[in-house]
């Protein structure tokens, strides 16, 4: 199963090799979706973990015990599809492929692909995207 989390680190934790431990000990596949980590000021990672339910829970507990704040990703991009004119301007900035135009030139939003970069919020000339 897949789960998305936002991980927040204190500055003291930035240099610890969390990712390799998660791969080795919990057999997780890790996809880093978004990140802002810098030595000296802590940071934030948006990640997608893929593994068994048991491993996912153990990994989250292990991170929490190590001082990392683990928040299941609850934010979402809201899209007011009804008002969309299918211009495609949002697809210009959507590197994850969540926003695409189909063969009929209609906009398709696949929230499973969204990495919450939020660039679409500014890119939509009709202001149809918002962060929930």
């Amino acid at each position: 199963m897949k789960r998305r989390y936002t991980l927040r680190f204190s500055p003291q934790l930035v240099n610890k090799p969390f990712v390799s431990k998660l791969v080795k000990s919990y057999d997780l596949e890790i996809n880093i979706l978004n990140g802002d980590v810098a030595s000296g000021r802590g940071g934030m990672l948006v990640v997608e973990f893929e593994g068994t339910a048991e491993h996912l829970k153990e990994a989250a507990d292990w991170l929490e015990n190590g001082g990392v704040t683990v928040s299941p990703m609850s934010k979402d991009i809201l899209f007011d599809k009804e008002k969309c004119v299918e211009c495609g301007a949002c697809t210009a900035v959507c590197s994850s492929g969540a926003l695409t135009l189909d063969k009929d030139a209609r906009l398709v939003y696949d929230s499973n692909e969204c990495v919450l970069c939020t660039l679409c919020v500014r890119a939509c000339p009709l202001q149809l995207f918002s962060i929930a």
Binding site: V85, C87, A89, A92, L101, A105, P125, L126, Q127
Partner: protein, 386 residues
């Protein structure tokens, strides 16, 4: 054999007209010669739905009692032009509200078309014949006399695609341009685009009847920045902005299905305009023009991070529509700014109007300039001409 517009109109009236969209026509052209196409097809419908900043509306508010000579006019906080007699005004699409930069003239026009009440505030100095000095009231499209779109520059024949080689994101009227040539945006409907299907403007001129915002409109002049000097490719297609049209239509009859206010982050308000132009297939030459395909329609890619937006590459609409083009050896994402979906809806709508006999074609009353170029605005210390 050549056909005339009046012969085509007879076919529209007797129900025998053959109409297809420019995309359908281009596909058919792979099987048939221009001569065969000219014989079999009478009208091709073209359309576009894109942000067109040079748009706006004329409104006559009706006279207040006692009269006011409006000298400062605001609708929903958006300034309107006050220099047109007592109660005539022009509201420009890109004018922004003094309270909310995401709301502008285009939004006011959209609200009026939707039948909403909007707030009108006006001041005058008070004259013997117009003594009232200030009014505050609410208007809608049914309370005003005239309310018509008058768009000085619409339907650019072609438009350069945009990219950004700089180090930071740019917010432009061509959308969000990611740094280091992170994307390319473009803004025409390609082979469906009106003025690309009649590049020499043989059939489009002053007086041409068109589809505008869901109702019938007219071409009233060449659009501003009308340019016949843009470099052309082997298919006679200009490689960037070239011809444009000025259009009018009764906004009271329009629908916001075909017009939509837009706000481009850190740029400002613009207006999506839905516009369709029927093109008569007069002869084999017109059929050849109308058969133009996305691959043959090329455009420049301009770098918005550099002064003057220099062209750095040339591409075509088949490549742009594929989702990626190659720039400097790197695959770069492409995205449109104009809605192809909406353009197709408009081309189909216009096709059905013609088929049903509700829309007759026109011959231009006068042609557009054969030689015209765009002058820059130059700084001068003082005026020499007296």
């Amino acid at each position: 054999m050549a056909k005339s517009v009046s012969e085509i109109n007879e076919k529209i009236k007797n129900g025998s007209v053959v109409v297809m969209t420019a995309e359908e026509f281009t596909r058919l052209s792979q099987e048939k010669s221009p001569e065969e196409l000219a014989k079999e097809v009478d009208v091709v419908t073209t359309a576009t739905f894109g942000p067109m900043c040079s748009s706006g509306a004329v409104i006559n508010f009706g006279h207040w009692k006692p009269g006011i000579r409006m000298e400062e006019i605001e609708i929903n906080g958006v300034d309107c032009y006050e220099g047109l007699a007592a109660v005539d005004s022009y509201i420009g699409a890109t004018a922004e509200s003094r309270f909310d930069c995401t709301y502008g003239g285009a939004n006011v026009i959209q609200d009026l078309i939707d039948g909403k009440d909007v707030h009108l505030h006006a001041r005058g100095k008070g004259t013997d014949c117009y003594p009232t000095k200030e009014i505050d009231t609410w208007i809608n499209k049914n309370t005003v006399n005239e309310f018509y779109l008058f768009n000085p520059r619409n339907a650019y024949q072609n438009y350069a695609a945009a990219t950004n080689s700089g180090d930071s994101i740019m917010y432009t009227y061509m959308g969000c341009l990611l740094p280091h040539e992170g994307n390319v945006t473009y803004s025409t409907s390609g082979e469906l685009s009106p003025l690309l299907n009649d590049p020499e403007m043989r059939t489009i001129g002053i007086g041409t009847r068109i589809f505008l915002g869901g109702t019938v409109g007219y071409v009233v002049w060449n659009g501003t920045q009308f340019n016949t000097m843009t470099e052309k490719n082997d298919h006679g297609i200009p490689l960037g902005g070239a011809a444009t049209i000025a259009v009018v239509g009764n906004a009271k009859e329009m629908s916001t299905e075909y017009l939509r206010a837009a706000y481009f982050h850190k740029y400002g308000v613009s207006f999506f305009i839905g516009l369709g132009v029927p093109i008569p297939v007069l002869d084999a030459d017109m059929a050849k023009r109308l058969a133009i395909s996305n691959k043959e329609i090329e455009t420049a890619v301009c770098d918005y991070s550099k002064s003057g937006h220099p062209s750095i590459a040339r591409t075509n609409y088949e490549a742009l529509r594929s989702g990626f083009i190659t720039l400097d050896g790197v695959k770069v994402r492409t995205a449109p700014m104009a809605s192809l979906y909406k353009a197709r809806v408009i081309a189909k709508e216009l096709q059905s109007w013609i088929k049903e006999g509700k829309f007759l074609l026109t011959e231009p009353v006068a042609s557009f300039p054969k030689q015209s170029f765009v002058k820059p605005l130059v700084a001068k210390e003082e005026g020499g001409a007296k």
